[in-house]
């Protein structure tokens, strides 16, 4: 229920979702900035749901994630070895900084 951004996507932009054979699955409206390489929710993800990427579980959502939101360390945790909270903050800070720089 997530897709990976292949280019920086601004809040309010509509992104096309591609399958591996380059056919189009559909569209999603980005509710916030999604940097290149990061994930966007293509369906609503309730809190406590196992998050699926490539058809396999990558973690569990720690809050409700509306369709079109950034899916990352601030709303997903690992089921094996999670990232310490201080590092999560630093990651999100660096992402926000990249956005402000217009990267």
């Amino acid at each position: 229920m997530v897709a990976t951004a292949l280019e920086n996507t601004k809040a309010g932009e509509t992104a096309e979702i591609y399958l591996p054979d380059n056919t189009i699955l559909g569209n999603v409206l980005a509710l916030e900035y999604i940097p290149f390489g990061n994930k966007i929710a293509i369906y609503d993800i309730p809190k406590g749901t196992k998050v699926l990427k490539y058809g396999a579980e990558i973690g569990v959502s720690t809050e409700d994630i509306p369709k079109g939101s950034l899916v990352h360390v601030h709303n997903v945790k690992s089921q094996t070895v999670d990232i310490p909270p201080a590092i999560k903050e630093e990651i999100m800070r660096q992402i926000r900084e990249k956005q402000e720089r217009g990267a």
Partner: protein, 392 residues
């Protein structure tokens, strides 16, 4: 599909004719290099874990296994003479393959100068032997290809890993053998691996060896890196996600078994198909691990690191347009903007596998190989963590 290789006396096939000089102890490294510098195809493998055997059995096993690798045409084993490991401890088993093996004990022949002189004579003999070898045609199913990644970035999970995985599937369909490893980076992949394991017993072995690696690399109080902030800023959220992205390079075929490397034995694949192994996630050590398993070449997914090793040629596959340079062998950057499919990229990779098998050098082969890193598990850590291998 065929390639031209060299039939070894034991029935294995080499795609290179390397002359391997094994320094059984670090004292012989200089002698080995003085000999090697006059021979283009000479490769030096030095045991820098010192000359003592107790605790270093896994290294001894690797020295022997690398000597047996099919890309090695002939071997010279050198020891200083005061250590616990003598050259015949290494040479004897390599010699059982039928390939020419010479030994020198530096102290016995009268010192460094005499060793270099005698070693040069031996290498000349090996060079003459190689000159008389003729290549023959063999089917691609005779190839053993290792798979590894290095320095994951966003393009790894989207472009290079999936396209290598698709190539691995095609190679397996053609009857070849592929080997993956890096067990620490399979944490979180257990469900997928269980579905692919050829039997419950195989999955149990895989699980135990992944758990062994997890313990080795998560000792409380040590600050061992498993995921960098850069991975996360680049979009990777959990170790499972990183591992699942990395797992893609191993394709979708059943896992026949998991090959072990330890102080008692080193497995080599007996039947064609896909195998996991204890090949380490550390790149240099992985090269030698792959050589120990009998691999011919390695498919390596990356952003842009130019890694190679002089025994098992490395094919570098990159999907990162910004970092791509002339160290890279296969360009799969088109997947990132939709101008190439994973399927067509995998065909490019197969073409490169055949080229390299036929003797065409990779981009940095012969120009700047990495050194051969001998990596072994520390027996003291194994004991403290109470880790053991799986019974054969």
């Amino acid at each position: 599909m065929n390639f031209k290789g060299y039939l070894r006396p034991d029935g294995t096939i080499g795609i290179r004719n390397k002359l391997l000089i094994i320094g059984v102890d670090e004292c012989c490294e200089g002698i080995a290099r003085s000999i090697a510098k006059n021979f283009d195809d000479a490769v030096v493998l030095t045991n820098w874990y010192t000359c003592m055997l107790g605790g270093n059995e896994e290294t001894l096993n690797q020295l022997i296994a690398v000597g047996k690798n099919p890309n090695v045409a002939g071997v010279l084993v050198i020891a200083m003479g005061c250590g616990s490991i003598g050259p015949s401890d290494v040479a004897r088993e390599i010699g059982e393959t039928g390939k020419p093996v010479y030994t020198i004990t530096c102290q016995k022949v009268g010192g460094t100068r005499k060793s270099v002189q005698l070693g040069t004579e031996y290498l000349n003999k090996l060079k003459e032997y190689v000159g008389g070898l003729e290549s023959q045609e063999f089917p691609i199913s005779r190839l053993i290809v290792g798979v590894k990644c290095g320095g994951s970035d966003t393009s790894s999970g989207i472009a290079s890993n999936p396209s290598v995985g698709a190539a691995v599937d095609k190679l397996i369909d053609m009857g070849a053998t592929c080997i993956g490893g890096e067990l620490f980076e399979l944490l979180g992949c257990q469900k997928v691996l269980e579905a692919r394991a050829s039997s419950p017993a195989v999955f149990e072995r895989i699980n135990q060896l992944i758990e062994n690696e997890r313990q080795r690399w998560s000792v409380e109080g040590t600050d061992v890196e498993t995921m960098s902030i850069g991975n996360c800023v680049g979009g990777i959220t959990t170790i499972e996600e990183k591992s699942l992205g990395a797992l893609h390079k191993t394709g979708t075929k059943p896992i026949i078994d998991i090959l072990q490397i330890n102080k008692d034995f080193i497995d080599t694949p007996k039947d064609p198909g896909f195998y996991l192994s204890e090949v380490t996630m550390l790149c240099g050590g992985a090269g030698v691990n792959f050589a120990s398993h009998g691999a011919h070449m390695i498919l390596w997914t990356s952003g842009a690191a130019g890694f190679n090793n002089p025994i098992v040629p490395v094919i570098r596959v990159s999907g990162n347009k910004d970092l791509f340079n002339d160290d890279m062998d296969v360009d799969v950057t088109g997947i990132m903007d939709g101008s190439e499919t994973i399927d067509s990229a995998s065909d490019k990779i197969i073409d490169k596998v055949i080229d390299v098998a036929n003797g065409i050098p990779t981009q940095i082969e012969g120009i700047g190989e990495s050194t051969l890193t001998l990596y072994q598990k520390d027996q003291r850590l194994e004991k403290l963590l109470n880790l053991s291998c799986c019974s054969k």
